[in-house]
Symmetry: D2
Subunit: 332 residues, 4 copies
């Protein structure tokens, strides 16, 4: 499905060069104050602009087609649409014949029998994440006072992010990065044993973000190299606070009241300002493709707010399930 | 939910020291030959016995309560039950008061208000994964000729697994490990853009396994340190084969016909043969707990077959969705 | 949820007097030719105009915001939006205080804490069924050559529909009616025993239509008055054709290859051109409300195409599940 | 799926002549006192015994394989199993060749390719409803003080039930009936507009019961013959109480606080103590079948408790969703 969530259900739609992208949210409680200005900060964080991000310019003005009335959510489906203005589809004709390495061009052709909207990656485009960020804005308000913060802690293997970006721009190449996400004040008891483990749900949504290659909670891959006597987090009080947090705030798939901590590996941008080797699907012979369009040199730069959105969506769903968010927000 | 899957739906039940554990599979096609002997090899791989695994002994004989008739699946719900024989619940009384670090004892108490079956971790126990392995056996048969293989590639930070296990046994401690899983002959086109990305579904089920701390596909966390020119997998033929496989067989959330490759980080066993610091929930004072019961020194040793099962369950679901598995298996 | 379906999933959004209504379809196969003109006939049948239907006028021009490219479906989410033009919200202020009998005004206030869009019933309005009809257009194309036909067989207890409508218009009142729906060439084998019985799914979607009060399959309520020797349908050939069709084309929850037949009871329109007794929510005293806005005298007149849509949506889902509709429509 | 529900999810398994039937309940709150004796009354009402019901005898002793500990639910999946003792499968050989009219024998063969457990109808058997009744027992406790009562109001077209049953037994035939179900003290606000309308969910589960042919809410089919001025229920107080209840306690798909009322049409038992015409699947020629096994002359006699269970399951799910049932029952 192109939707996720049991009680706070988020469905994404749209293509990079179609008329619009957006999100349909089903299950948002009624009474939540919501207006375009609430979205500005997060959309700005996702929007390109900084060095190393794409030159595509979109106003990203949220249009509420349903579910908001008199400045508050109504409790019925909430449709938020973003128009696509800065479209330049002609640039993408070549990828039908010579699919771009690292992109979904080839698999989309196989899966959808050649009927996919190939322009700019179509529905596979990172452009579609604007809807995810919008859903995250709503979710973040719902889960207050839980506070989520993600930041890029490493780019191209270095912690000096700006320097790494400058270097790769100079070289006409791209780099990836690692984003760390933390959530404070998460109540204990969210998640289920086994299939709806908190990690399962978080990883599910995080891997829905194009470009993610790995996720680890708490000590993560390093845990596999620790001894149990070192890795176990001693419980220090009756609220379950632990002396260390190697578990990343989750035990047995359930949040334990300590800060939620995970890290996400983001691959280097697949589109490069240089020719790349691929196959010519007409002839079966080797081909070359120059990634047209406008691209990030380091797509991880724009990732933190998207990963925050993924986290907020999962927490909103779990907090509704545990009845920690009321179905009607009288308070605002 | 305690179930997963859209067309091949797997629901787990049971507690470590209850009467039984097992799995209810909904959506298994009719006509698949299935008998107890088909389960022996995988159950053996999961069953303890080797050095470093728990001393608990269970026959693990699958009982088909429904869904199998005359040696074949009927197309209606398939219930497989495993009786719990080797139960020794008395050993667990202390954990109500002094919850074990690294275990779900504390969060289970919070979430279920003290009504959880705490004996041996109850429904949070690794014992419940026997049902997952059983579902994996069914799924593996459905997805043939797709072949899944997982193995422990590192334990306690070392590649010499046996030596690492001997060392930790000697020290009265525990270690974790890293499991690598590969699937060959996966058809291209499985998965969806965004929420049902192949990585999303695989990570969802893999994190449902107790003890998993991280997952990475293809180059994984290392991808975050590569440049795009190095990381991109050049496409070399019209079937989409790539010269390298840094993507791990998935592009845009869709399998691309190359081998599926991912790695899973498993934490060190939380139960240790030595006292551990915790809190006394009656007094709020520091307490100590000795993990009673029987435990693995390296639970990663038994993980490969469980991770294979998780993979097979996801692939069965996706292959049914893409109509690559018929609803009736006439062939056997 | 405001969506329905396992493989062909339909989600409705919008309010009577909001900016737009529409439908998000997830799971539509790729390659299906689709353009605005394909919707004209069914939207016309739903659109008011005949004697006895509301005076509200909407162009009902489908806008494809996503999921259609070069005149065919892409296989990714299909968003169809209809703008609301003929809005006259001022007429509805009174219903906040004096909820209309037979409408959802009162329950919406309770459920959504007063935050609902009350204008014209908001999301509870029959206006939202335009999205259902649009989804039905897509579904009908998918299930070809299965052919669905519904018609009004009784209005206000009479079979002479026009006469009944004239009479009720003269009296300034409203009437209900009974719609019979038939589907020809339905393949045998659709549906599941128990929860996804074909009747369960059809009834689920049919009762989602505002104003429906009952549904019966085949002999229906009359079956409860027949003897088994009379009611049983003798099987007459190896294709399962039966001499009679008291079962309405379904046995054990599964279609049996005979025509699918069911009847739906539609209540009289709740809005009347005369004052009605209600309560004044401010005072608790008796109040009166005159249904402002524009309404059908017999909403059953516009029901057949909506019930056809409900039927087509269910059949599309079940036929995809049984792999009787391919995931890519190469044929058009 | 063979399961139903969003928060209180019920999955049925088992075959008439397999080892066991039962139910897996996912999402039952923790802390609910539950023991075998709680099931006795409802299982007795479903169990045959009265004149006109089958001679099959089953102890119907519920076995809790998981999810109950120290006499209370644990919050994790609850598996209740009923062993099949009184099996006499030999009687069913003939139906492979000459499928019984009115039964699922023919469609099961088509759908499952001949691999179905045909004995006694297999998974299509009314025997499987014992699991539904068991789930209903749990649900009824959860929704207290909501009280559900169903009764047979008509059998074979007559209100003198006993006389109708005696007559049909004398004639060696079968009859159907009509069951009326009422729920008192249902809170207002349950259900959603459109797809999860309260009627949609109730009808979904009611039609999952073998033998149901129709359902109507409130005035039902009679509403289609009323005028709006007569049918509308005037609201008489600020709690939404109405002077009449033609709506059956539901407006706009949402419960309105008045009693929930609906009626269900049950067909006459398909199995008759006399030969019936069918086809011989080997030859395509007309065949005859005598329904072997043991059967009800009026299966509607045992329906009320099953319909109550269906109602309770839906209400439990909706009340959990509206946070009217806590996730942990401290009170018992």
């Amino acid at each position: 499905m192109h939707s996720f969530g049991r009680l706070f259900r988020v469905g994404l739609f749209g293509e990079s060069h179609g008329p619009a992208v957006g999100v349909l949210i089903d299950g948002c409680p009624a009474g939540l104050p919501l207006g375009p200005k609430d979205f500005a900060a997060d959309l700005d964080r996702r929007r390109p602009g900084a060095r190393g991000t794409t030159a595509r310019r979109e106003a990203d003005e949220p249009g509420f087609l349903s579910g908001v009335f008199d400045g508050r959510t109504t409790g019925t489906p909430l449709l938020i649409r973003f128009e696509n203005a800065d479209r330049d589809a002609a640039a993408y004709e070549a990828i039908k014949i010579t699919p771009r390495p690292g992109h979904a061009d080839f698999v989309a052709g196989v899966k959808f029998g050649g009927f996919q909207d190939y322009r700019g990656g179509g529905h596979f485009s990172g452009r579609v994440t604007v809807g995810l960020v919008a859903a995250g804005v709503v979710a973040k308000r719902l889960i207050r006072p839980v506070a989520i913060g993600a930041r890029l802690v490493e780019a191209g293997g270095e912690t000096e992010i700006d320097r790494a970006v400058e270097a790769v721009l100079r070289d006409g190449d791209s780099i990836g990065g690692i984003v760390e996400c933390t959530a404070q004040d998460v109540p204990a008891g969210l998640g289920e044993p086994f299939f709806d483990a908190a990690e399962s749900l978080l990883a599910h949504v995080v891997f829905a973000i194009p470009g993610v290659r790995g996720i680890e909670f708490g000590a993560g891959f390093q845990a596999a190299r620790m001894r149990g006597s070192e890795h176990n987090d001693p419980i220090v009080d009756v609220k379950g606070r632990t002396a260390t947090n190697h578990a990343g705030g989750i035990a047995g798939g359930i949040t334990n009241g300590n800060p939620l901590v995970f890290r996400v590996a983001v691959k280097p941008t697949s589109s490069l300002p240089r020719p790349q080797a691929t196959v010519d699907l007409r002839t079966g012979e080797p081909g070359r493709i120059v990634a047209a369009g406008r691209h990030d040199a380091c797509l991880a730069l724009r990732m933190p707010v998207i990963i925050e959105a993924a986290t907020a969506i999962v927490l909103a769903d779990l907090m509704l399930l545990e009845q920690r968010i009321p179905r009607v927000r009288k308070d605002g």
